[in-house]
């Protein structure tokens, strides 16, 4: 990104740096050498149709997939060569909550706190459950939670260990309006503390939050721009680059 390059030279250093990233599944090349960067404190919104490679990009950065080629660095560490500090530095919020349904909210958070070595475990869990309005249900198994409550608990799971970078994979997907408000409220609260990379179909949310915008199509970057584009203009750009009409 030209804007990112400027910031790299004169502003915040890059927290996420992707160079020539390629990913193949069998003979199918899903990512065809994409490069971009997200400066510290930045918020990159990635759009694109289903199957474009957005989630694959996110999963490679999160160390859940191994790149077939290219280089990815996060918080100064190569995600392939040095994955442990990368995992400590990221929180991952997806439309899948990644919570154990037969454990209570408190048991889920205790489990993840131990996995991340959170030193003030009980105080941190209490703080997050109160912040996310889940204290009253902390001893209930997650199976009994609504989708919105699960998503709130998933946010607590993701930020429990105070990560530097938050990776968001369709975080608004399947949420009711109340849950969207709570998620947005929380993102507002923590916006200044983190670097964000969000994959979304939701153009309104992507434009609202993003300091940088990107469209991926067919494994390549089709468009990139700094924020400041209005919804109508961006929708037109999206339709120009993407032909499945999946604009929200």
């Amino acid at each position: 990104m030209s804007d990112d390059k400027d910031r790299q030279d004169g502003g915040a250093p890059l927290e996420i740096e992707v160079e020539g990233l390629r990913k193949t599944f069998g003979r199918r090349e899903v990512l065809k050498g994409i490069s971009f960067g997200v400066p510290r404190g930045g918020f990159l919104s990635i759009f694109g149709p289903n199957g474009a490679g957005k989630t694959t990009t996110l999963r490679v950065i999160a160390t859940l997939l191994t790149a077939s080629g290219g280089k990815v660095q996060l918080a100064g560490h190569d995600v392939r060569e040095d994955p442990m500090p990368v995992r400590k530095a990221i929180g991952f919020i997806s439309h899948n909550a990644m919570l154990y349904p037969d454990l209570t909210a408190q048991e889920n958070l205790r489990f993840y706190a131990d996995m991340y070595g959170v030193e003030d475990r009980e105080a941190r869990i209490t703080e997050l459950l109160e912040r996310l309005e889940l204290s009253a249900r902390r001893h209930d198994v997650v199976r009994t939670y609504s989708k919105g409550m699960r998503q709130r608990l998933a946010i607590a799971r993701a930020i429990l260990h105070r990560p530097r970078v938050l990776l968001l994979d369709e975080p608004h997907s399947g949420l009711d309006p109340r849950a969207v408000d709570i998620l947005d409220g929380l993102l507002t609260e923590i916006r200044d503390e983190h670097t964000f990379l969000m994959v979304t179909h939701n153009i309104a949310k992507g434009l609202e939050w993003g300091t940088d915008l990107m469209i991926i199509e067919n494994g390549r970057i089709a468009y990139e721009h700094a924020a400041g584009v209005d919804h109508e203009t961006f929708s037109a750009v999206y339709r120009e680059h993407v032909h499945d009409g999946s604009v929200v």
């Binding site: 999160a62 995992r87 400590k88 909550a97 990644m98 048991e107 996995m115 991340y116």
Partner: protein, 228 residues
């Protein structure tokens, strides 16, 4: 954070979940009890016939098939709820996950055996083997470690495939043959003849070797096995 803390966290999580839902334990115990009833009627060709020499085989075949049920379920739960992604996002050595999962499966298998062995002995063994309990427990533990370590490794590999329920037995059963031969022989000797450690030491060494090979194999390959 330490690997030991993470090991305990994964193990505690698996035990709490299973003791709360009893999904695996109930189906495994039911399977073992039903298998005993089937064996009882299938092998009793003559009233009062001594089945002691068949007991080792019946016991280990039953445990291995029961464990297949458990292994499939333990990883299906991680996969179905996308919890595996949450686990893999944690800064945890993959070998720690392997050992925690293996010990969890071992605990479940030991619980099954604590229920099944006395009932088996009642049904099929005509002499008391209490004097040979120590060699029997050694056989049980070494064979269980082998079944659980290899089973956990292969269940991890097969969980990422579409036909995981079919693939696990196809991969696991042939590789368990050496363990089955040693465990069956040693158990039958203990039940039928009861001549102490001396009679089973060679078979215990085979079990020990089996455990060592697959623990080391898992140590070296688990990062790859649990990845994509």
């Amino acid at each position: 954070m330490s690997g030991w803390t993470q090991f305990k966290a994964i193990l505690r999580k698996d035990l709490i979940r299973e003791l709360r839902t009893r999904d695996m334990l109930v189906s495994m115990i039911l399977f073992v009890l039903l298998a005993m009833i089937i064996f009882h009627y299938a092998f009793t060709v003559k009233e009062g016939a001594d089945l002691t020499y068949f007991t080792g085989g019946m016991l280990w075949v039953t445990f291995i098939f029961a464990m297949l049920l458990g292994l499939n379920r333990s990883f299906a739960q991680e996969k179905d709820e996308h919890c595996l992604d949450g686990l893999l996002l944690c800064p945890v050595d993959r070998v720690t996950i392997f050992f925690a999962k293996t010990v969890g499966n071992l605990v479940f298998l030991l619980i099954i055996q604590a229920v099944a062995v006395p009932v088996f002995a009642l049904f099929f063994v005509q002499r008391s083997f209490l004097g040979d309990l120590l060699p029997f427990l050694a056989v049980l533990l070494l064979a269980d470690i082998g079944i659980c370590s290899l089973g956990t490794l292969l269940a991890t590999i097969s969980m990422n495939t579409r036909s995981r329920d079919l693939l696990l037995p196809i991969l696991l059963l042939p590789l368990l043959v050496p363990l089955l031969i040693a465990a069956t022989g040693a158990t039958t000797l203990v039940f039928a003849e009861g001549i102490g450690f001396g009679s089973v030491v060679a078979r215990l060494l085979v079990l020990l070797g089996f455990d060592a090979i697959f623990l080391v194999a898992a140590w070296g390959t688990y990062d790859f096995a649990i990845g994509e």
